[in-house]
């Protein structure tokens, strides 16, 4: 098929699908008035049962923690796959130092940029950590905070230099951190079984509602996710940025 045939085929199909979509849109329960028995049950019960005030965290790390386990392992698998894809060609040996940028000129950063990055970097990382720590109380959690911290570290690259960022972001460490985060999560499932409880059952003391350290196992899982996500995303960024360096003779940094 060339592009035009393809579009014609797709158009005809769209004509067949569109009425079906319209029927569904008309029949779906009205927006803003859905029956939500599951969500309501959680909203009613979780605060008292798990001593956390962020229901999304309660769902993510307790009621449906098994989903989170799968999700984290998906991240691990995807990062591993990306590493295979990108590192396979370069070889493992070179991946722990900054690849040569060839004959590219090193661009000087203006002092204002450096200064701004030096100010914002700690702010962003602190904010990320705050988001991670307050998972049980206010919006946020290991996943969001981890992503924030990971993107924050890029300011090092922007403000200082690639090689400094590369030296600090030692890939082996993040490999291991990522694996460790995943192991923590699986163990959160398995260890309660040793005491006769169910897989992923929250057996730890729950602590005080509205306290930072409340929620029992939720805290541990949150930490595991935070570590795995931070390390995973830093690794992804690392490999993609390394890729921009790996070839010689490019004209543009």
């Amino acid at each position: 098929m060339n592009r035009r045939t393809r579009l014609v085929v797709a158009g005809i199909c769209a004509l067949a699908i569109a009425p079906a979509v319209a029927v569904v849109i008309v029949h779906i329960p009205a927006f803003g008035h859905h029956p939500l028995p599951y969500g309501d049950a959680i909203n009613r019960a979780a605060g008292a049962e798990r001593h956390v005030t962020n229901m999304v965290t309660a769902v993510n790390f307790d009621y449906r923690a098994f989903d989170t386990l799968g999700e984290e392992l998906m991240l691990v698998a995807a990062v591993t796959g990306t590493l295979v894809l990108l590192r396979g060609r370069r070889g493992e040996n070179v991946s722990d130092r900054a690849a040569q940028a060839g004959d590219r000129p090193v661009c000087e950063r203006s002092e204002a940029v450096t200064l701004a990055c030096r100010i914002f970097l700690p702010l962003i990382v602190t904010f990320g950590l705050y988001v991670i720590l307050h998972a049980g109380l206010t919006p946020g959690g290991g996943f969001q905070g981890g992503a924030i911290v990971a993107s924050g570290t890029l300011l090092l690259y922007l403000g200082e230099s690639y090689s400094l960022w590369r030296r600090l972001m030692h890939s082996l460490i993040f490999d291991m951190l990522e694996a460790a985060g995943a192991i923590v999560l699986v163990l959160c499932g398995l260890l309660p079984m040793l005491s006769g409880a169910a897989f992923l059952e929250n057996v730890l003391p729950l602590g005080q509602t509205r306290a930072l350290l409340a929620g029992g196992l939720i805290l541990v899982e949150n930490a595991g996710v935070a570590v795995a996500v931070t390390a995973g995303f830093i690794l992804l960024l690392l490999e993609f940025l390394e890729e921009t360096r790996a070839t010689r003779g490019g004209e543009k940094p």
Partner: protein, 81 residues
């Protein structure tokens, strides 16, 4: 409230269309970031601050960055014919 919701939905639809229509990949990376911001705003209005956070971190920072990195290396890469 309803007006705000409708506006946000339309904004998301518009920026999403923009992502598709930005055929030049470098501009598209920017369009993705804009779409991410629009989505995050919609999520706030839909009372989902947790999701908004992660959309901001992932959709407007990490994903466009990966796109840009790939575009740069596609450009510098000289494949053997």
């Amino acid at each position: 409230m309803i007006v705000l919701l409708i506006l946000m939905f339309l904004l998301v639809a518009a920026t999403g269309t923009g992502v598709v229509l930005a055929r030049e990949p470098r501009r598209q990376a920017l369009a993705i970031a804009v779409n991410g911001v629009a989505l995050a705003l919609l999520f706030v209005v839909l009372r989902a601050p947790d999701v908004a956070y992660s959309e901001i971190a992932v959709g407007t920072a990490l994903v466009p960055l990966m796109f840009l990195a790939v575009l740069v290396s596609l450009k510098t890469d000289r494949p053997k014919p």
